[in-house]
Symmetry: C2
Subunit: 150 residues, 2 copies
DNA sequence: TTTCTTGCAAAGAGTTTGCAGCTTC
DNA sequence: GAAGCTGCAAACTCTTTGCAAGAAA
């Protein structure tokens, strides 16, 4: 984890920003909750546990900065709240999500399943793809099993 | 177009709602701007041109109702505003979008390109897909041509 | 010192809600 | 006249911004 923080620190420096204690605390929370799709408020509350003096605006500003640097991806699952997802080291595409419409759980799909689809879009629509968002809505394994019981 | 309104009217009636003049005016605006990805505010302003007495809250309530009935899809391209897209008659999947990161234009892709991908997700993650959202971010044909000139 | 960053509070944008009045059946 | 629907205004939620003070180079 240390090395990932160093890497982010380097990215910040390359763009002429500093890794202040507040920014570092925010990054640590993101690393510790990597699969959790935290909202800005969630991040704020978690950072506050360890650094009570931090302000909400700072968290927003840090998350915006990290989004610009593509350290995190800002996603919106349609509930009016932005969530932040760490981009895997070296990943050039944004991973996919499976959202369960019964229990609300969000699973991540790290594989890039869109290779063929992107080729079609690039050639047929003459569109140069830089990134994608793919989210499936449905019923997860656990809820399916529960539903079958009843 | 008349027939599409009748169809929506029927859907409303089946769910015990009425097609009031305000709701009809809203639906007409959506039909007339089918490819435009209007926000609630956009819809409100357009409806207001023909029915100046309508209130913003009514438009919001109508759009919510139409979303619940799956007449429209509520989408969010990450700018904090919900947009509303008419679902094509008989369509069971939500169409894809191409967003140009230079000019902001949004193109629609009506074909469902995810058949194979969905099979993989359904079997490998044991997830019953009910709907999907797929958005590509990149550079459209026109902007690509403009960029090449310079 | 100069520049960047922070915390706070206020402002802003988008959306929802309470309620009285109006329609419709 | 009961139930559903509407317009208005107020409330609410999430996010951004102005600014004075603090930290870093």
């Amino acid at each position: 984890m240390k090395s990932r923080i160093d890497r982010i620190k380097k990215q910040l420096h390359e763009a002429s920003y500093k890794l202040t204690p507040q920014r570092e605390a925010t990054v640590i929370v993101l690393l510790e909750h990597e699969a959790d799709h935290l909202s800005a408020e969630d991040v704020f509350l978690l950072v506050k546990e360890k650094s009570p003096e931090i302000g909400l605006a700072t968290v927003y500003r840090t998350l915006e900065l990290l989004t610009d640097l593509k350290v995190v991806d800002k996603i919106n699952f349609g509930d009016g709240v932005s969530r932040f997802d760490l981009r895997k080291e070296g990943d050039h595409h944004f991973h996919h999500h499976l959202i369960c419409i019964e229990c609300g759980k969000v699973e991540e799909v790290q594989e890039d399943l869109l290779g063929e689809v992107e080729k079609i879009v690039e050639s047929r629509w003459d569109f140069a793809i830089k990134d994608h968002w793919l989210t499936f809505h449905g019923i997860c394994k656990v809820c399916k099993a529960n539903d079958d019981e009843n």
